[in-house]
């Protein structure tokens, strides 16, 4: 996989157990008016998985910002182009031990995203723009960009409840 950018808490091992069930698969178009519908849907999905209110807001914010980025940057503001969103219950291991949570994968057919440019702006600069990616990185535990078969893919995971590390464990 080329051009992969991950957060430091990226998972090492993930299991596809019976609990890893698909919750949602949405095919939407690059129309900003659709964002409110997706937000409402993702909020319900987070509630179904018993995420606390604050975490549910973080998940909704990340999906909204990611979709807005696809519409504005990958598709350059052109409307009616396809975006796919898949959302599943997730379980696996992270540097903090066994985790469960939600995995959201977005795919689009827009121009290739350059991970080197996906940094957002420094927060001490007071100017419009450059905040969306910062919100996503602040809100999710795993954020991975990739390009496969002519599609941009963004994979995000939010852990439900961090499992305490066993005593004496130094982690990974």
């Amino acid at each position: 996989m080329r051009g992969r950018v991950s957060k430091s808490r990226t998972t090492r091992r993930e299991s596809k157990q019976p609990n890893d069930e698909m919750l949602l698969k949405l095919e939407l178009r690059s129309n900003p008016e659709a964002l409110c519908l997706v937000r409402a849907t993702v909020e319900r999905a987070a509630e179904v998985l018993h995420f606390p209110e604050g975490d549910a807001r973080a998940i909704v914010r990340s999906v909204d910002e990611a979709l807005a980025n696809v519409m504005r940057h990958a598709y350059g503001g052109r409307q009616g182009l396809p975006i796919e969103m898949r959302c599943r219950r997730w379980s696996g291991e992270s540097i903090e031990g066994k985790q469960s949570g939600i995995e959201i994968v977005l795919q689009d057919h827009g121009i290739a995203v350059d991970p080197a440019k996906m940094k957002g702006r420094p927060l001490n600069e007071i100017r419009p723009g450059g905040l969306g990616l910062h919100f996503i990185r602040q809100s999710m535990d795993v954020v991975e960009f990739s390009r496969k078969n002519g599609k941009n893919q963004l994979r995000m995971v939010k852990y439900l409840t961090p499992t305490p590390r066993p005593a004496g464990s130094e982690g990974e």
């Binding site: 807001r57 007071i126 100017r127 419009p128 723009g129 905040l131």
Partner: protein, 110 residues
């Protein structure tokens, strides 16, 4: 999304109803810049009591309004921020850059 203007102490209140997202932030930007740059309103109060959600494009519109008001020596005052909107302000580290009050009485008395 609905934006309504009404007179207030030394300026204008813009009552915003709805989510300020990619679909609607251009309307907020336009209304703000119209008050600040075209009408030269000395104090523009942004009532966010009925805003459940704001995204980064909405924040960008507010920052543009703030910059315009600073350039012209006027004031942009925000009030009635929901938990969600306040969170986004904090994530942007802008909560100390904007003049923010809890409610209309406090904002207009400022």
């Amino acid at each position: 999304m609905d934006i309504a203007a009404r007179p207030a102490a030394g300026g204008t209140i813009l009552d915003i109803t709805g989510d300020i997202d990619l679909a609607h932030s251009p309307a907020v930007r336009k209304a703000l810049l119209q008050e600040i740059k075209e009408k030269k309103t000395p104090k523009v109060y942004l009532n966010l009591e009925k805003v459940r959600y704001i995204d980064s494009s909405g924040i960008a519109s507010l920052v543009e309004g703030l910059k315009a008001s600073r350039d012209l020596g006027s004031r942009l005052v925000l009030y009635g921020l929901s938990k969600s909107v306040r969170e986004v302000m904090e994530l942007s580290r802008l909560q100390k850059i904007f003049e923010i009050h809890d409610d209309e009485a406090q904002a207009t008395a400022s």
